[in-house]
C-alpha cells in the first residue's frame, strides 16, 4: 500500500538478486543499497542486466532469488501499480491517443475515487508539471506532434504526476540526438536537485552516468562490478572491465622479470605480489602518460604516429616498437608546440599512474581482482 505522506523515506536495500532467462543469467547475485534522494546510475553494456534490475524495481519483473527491502517492508510484495514509482522509458511510451495534458493527468485520473483529486486539483497539478517541464504551451498537442525531447519531457511529467517515491529512468535519452541529450541531461540534474527524489537511471553511456549520477553501479554480465561515486569509478576502477568500459584507457601487458615487473624498457622495480604471479595487465588512462621523461629515467621510446586535434585537447596516437604496443595519450592543445609534438617525433613516454591486475596462471589470462594494485611513481605525492 501507499505509505502515509509523513513516513520518512527509507533506504532501499537490494539483497542477492538473481534473475535467469532460459539459459542466461540476467542478474547474478546483485546486492545494492539506495539512500533516499540519491541519484544512482546503472551503467553497463547491453545485456548486462541493468534494465532487468530496473524492471524489478518497477514491479514489471520479479527476481528468481533475493529480496528488496524498504525499511522492514518487502518492497517486492507490492504490485507495479501499488508501488508508487515513476517510470520513464527509452521510447517514451506515451499514450498517443491522448493529448499532452491527458497524458500527464493519466496517473491521477485512474486512481480509485476516494484517492482521486478533484478535477480542478488535477488540472492545477497538470499545469504545474507542464510548467516544470517547460511545455505549458503544448498541452493540447498529441504526442505525434512533438519532438523527441519534448516527448521525453511529457513522459517525465507524467511519471512525476503521481508523486512517486522512486523515479526510474530506462535509457531516457537513448533515442535523442546528441545536442538535445546534453541539454536534457543538465536539466534533469537540476530537476533532481530541486525535487530530491530517489532516482535510478539506466544507461550505457558512461559520459552520461559520470555527469549525472551521485553514484554509479557498473554492471557486466548480470553482476555489479563496482559501485561508487563517478570520481571513484573513474579514478580508481576496481576491475579490468571497469577500466576498459569507463573512459578511454591503454591496456598494457605486464610480465615479471628478474628485477621486478615491467613492460619492455619500462621496469617497475617492485613486485607488489611477492612473486606469486608471472603475468598481468596494467591500465593507464591517456592523461596519465608522461610524454617527456628525462634521460636516465626508465621510459619507452615511442613514435608519434598521429595527432588528432579535438578542440582544447589533442589525442596522440603513439607506437612503442620495442614491445609492439599502440598507446593513446592526451595533451592540452596549447602544449602541442611547446613539446614539439609533430608526427614522426620520437618521445620518451612512461605512465605516471596505473592500475594493474595479475593473471591467475592456472586459469589462463583471468585477472585476479582481489589483488588489484594501483601504482604512482614514488617521487609524486
Amino acid at each position: 500500500m501507499r505509505p502515509a505522506a509523513t513516513e520518512i523515506p527509507m533506504t532501499l536495500v537490494l539483497d542477492r538478486l538473481t534473475r535467469r532467462f532460459a539459459d542466461f543469467a540476467a542478474l547474478d547475485d546483485v546486492s545494492l543499497q539506495m539512500a533516499p534522494g540519491e541519484f544512482l546510475a546503472l551503467l553497463g553494456p547491453s545485456g548486462s542486466g541493468k534494465t532487468t534490475l530496473l524492471r524489478i524495481l518497477a514491479g514489471l519483473d520479479y527476481p528468481d532469488g533475493g529480496v528488496v527491502m524498504q525499511g522492514d517492508q518487502d518492497f517486492l510484495a507490492a504490485s507495479a501499480r501499488e508501488r508508487n514509482v515513476g517510470l520513464v522509458f527509452q521510447h517514451y511510451a506515451l499514450f498517443r491517443h491522448l493529448t499532452v495534458r491527458e497524458n500527464v493527468a493519466f496517473g491521477l485520473r485512474v486512481r480509485p475515487r476516494r484517492r482521486r483529486p478533484s478535477r480542478a486539483q488535477i488540472r492545477e497539478q497538470v499545469e504545474r508539471l507542464l510548467k516544470r517541464v517547460q511545455l505549458e504551451e503544448l498541452g493540447d498537442r498529441y504526442p505525434s506532434q512533438l519532438s523527441g525531447g519534448q516527448r521525453q519531457r511529457v513522459a517525465l511529467a507524467r511519471a512525476l504526476a503521481v508523486e512517486p517515491e522512486l523515479l526510474l529512468l530506462d535509457e531516457p535519452f537513448g533515442a535523442l540526438d546528441a545536442q538535445v541529450r546534453i541539454t536534457l541531461r543538465r536539466w534533469l540534474r537540476e530537476l533532481h536537485e530541486e525535487l530530491q527524489l530517489t532516482t535510478v537511471f539506466v544507461t550505457h553511456d558512461q559520459e552520461e552516468a559520470l555527469e549525472l549520477a551521485d553514484r554509479i553501479a557498473v554492471m557486466n554480465r548480470g553482476r555489479i562490478e563496482q559501485v561508487g561515486t563517478p570520481q571513484a569509478v573513474y579514478q580508481d576502477p576496481a576491475t579490468p572491465f571497469v577500466c576498459e568500459f569507463i573512459g578511454r584507457t591503454n591496456r598494457i601487458p605486464l610480465a615479471r622479470h628478474a628485477q621486478g615487473w615491467g613492460a619492455g624498457a619500462w621496469p617497475l622495480m617492485t613486485d607488489p605480489w611477492d612473486g606469486r604471479y608471472r603475468h598481468g595487465v596494467a591500465y593507464v588512462r591517456p592523461e596519465h602518460l608522461t610524454l617527456s621523461v628525462p634521460d636516465g629515467q626508465p621510459a619507452w621510446e615511442a613514435r608519434l604516429r598521429h595527432v588528432y586535434l579535438a578542440g582544447s585537447v589533442a589525442h596522440l596516437d603513439l607506437y612503442v616498437g620495442d614491445i609492439d604496443l599502440a598507446l593513446e595519450a592526451d595533451v592540452a592543445s596549447e602544449d602541442l608546440g611547446r613539446l614539439g609534438l609533430q608526427p614522426g617525433a620520437v618521445l620518451r613516454v612512461a605512465p605516471n599512474r596505473l592500475v594493474a591486475f595479475p593473471f591467475d596462471d592456472d586459469h589462463g589470462n583471468r585477472a585476479v581482482i582481489r589483488d588489484r594494485w594501483t601504482w604512482r611513481p614514488p617521487d609524486r605525492r
Binding site: 518497477a58 511510451a93 493529448t99 493519466f106 485512474v110 498529441y142 505525434s144
Partner: protein
C-alpha cells in the same frame, strides 16, 4: 506543377482510375440506368411494399447486428491469437480464413444441417424454443459466419504492433488491467475495429449464398433483400430488380460513409503536426 520525387504517379493514378471506371463504376452506372426505367413513382411504390421493406430491414438490421457481434468475437479471437502462446494456435489461426475459402452455399447448407429441427444442434435448441434454421436468427448466424474473418484479420497486425511498454507505463501509473484496456488499448484499436466492422457489414449486406439456405425465405419473416432481387429477375422484372439494387447500394454507401467519418474522428490523434 511541382515535379514529384516519387516516380510513377501518372501511370499508377491513370491505371487506378481506368480500372475503377471499368470494373466498378461502369456496372454501377448501368445498374442506375436500368433502374431509372421504373421512374421515381415506381421506386416509391417499390419501397411502399411491406414485403420489400421487411426484406431491407432484415438485410440491413441483420448485417449491422452481425458486424457488431463480429467486432466482439473478432476482438476476442485476435487477442487470444496475438497475445498468448498455446498448443493449436497456428491451426486456429489457419481456420479463421475458412469462411473466406468455403463456397458460401456449402456454408449455408452446413449451417442448415446443423440447426434444422433434426440436425445435431437443432434437435437440442428447437425444443427449447430457439428457432435458428428458417428464422431471422439463422440469417444472422450465416452473416456472422461470413463476416467473421474480416475483423480478426484487420485487427491482428494492429494488436501485434501495440507497444508493450505503453501498457507497462499505464500499470506503473496505477491503472488496473481493466483501466489499461479501456483507456489505453481500446482507444488505439477503435479505428481498426471500425474498419473490420465496415468490411463485415458490407459482406453481410451482400451475402446471398449461405443465407438463402438457412433462412427458409419466408416472406415478411426471413427473406433478405438480395433474394427479392433474384425473384424479380426470375419474373423478368429487370427494372424492379435494378431499382432494389440501387436502393441497397445507396443504403450501403451511406453506412460506409458514416463509418469512414467516425473512423477519421477516432484517429484524430494520428494526424501529423501542421
Amino acid at each position: 506543377m511541382r515535379k514529384r520525387v516519387l516516380p510513377g504517379f501518372g501511370i499508377s493514378l491513370g491505371y487506378a482510375l481506368a480500372y475503377l471506371g471499368l470494373i466498378v463504376l461502369l456496372p454501377l452506372a448501368a445498374l442506375a440506368w436500368k433502374a431509372s426505367g421504373i421512374g421515381l413513382h415506381g421506386l416509391f411504390r417499390l419501397l411502399e411494399s411491406p414485403r420489400t421493406l421487411a426484406a431491407l430491414k432484415l438485410s440491413f438490421g441483420g448485417a449491422l447486428l452481425a458486424a457488431l457481434l463480429n467486432v466482439f468475437i473478432g476482438l476476442l479471437v485476435a487477442w487470444a491469437l496475438v497475445r498468448y502462446r498455446f498448443p493449436g494456435r497456428r491451426l486456429l489461426d489457419a481456420l479463421i480464413d475458412l469462411p473466406f475459402a468455403l463456397p458460401t452455399a456449402v456454408a449455408g447448407i452446413a449451417l442448415t444441417a446443423l440447426y434444422a429441427p433434426n440436425g445435431w444442434l437443432g434437435r437440442w435448441v428447437v425444443p427449447m424454443g430457439i428457432q435458428v434454421a428458417y428464422a431471422p436468427l439463422g440469417v444472422l448466424l450465416a452473416m456472422v459466419f461470413v463476416g467473421f474473418p474480416f475483423v480478426v484479420r484487420t485487427l491482428q497486425p494492429v494488436l501485434q504492433s501495440l507497444e508493450r511498454d505503453v501498457e507497462e507505463a499505464a500499470e506503473s501509473l496505477g491503472a488496473t488491467r481493466r483501466q489499461t484496456f479501456l483507456r489505453v488499448i481500446l482507444p488505439l484499436l477503435v479505428p481498426t475495429l471500425l474498419t473490420g466492422f465496415a468490411l463485415a457489414l458490407a459482406r453481410a449486406v451482400g451475402e446471398y449464398g449461405s443465407v438463402i439456405f438457412i433462412a427458409g425465405n419466408i416472406p415478411m419473416r426471413s427473406e433478405i433483400a438480395p433474394l427479392l432481387i433474384v425473384q424479380k429477375l426470375e419474373e423478368f422484372n429487370y427494372a424492379g430488380a435494378a431499382a432494389l439494387g440501387v436502393v441497397m447500394l445507396a443504403f450501403s454507401f451511406i453506412l460506409l460513409l458514416l463509418i469512414a467519418v467516425l473512423q477519421r474522428w477516432s484517429r484524430r490523434w494520428a494526424e501529423r503536426a501542421a
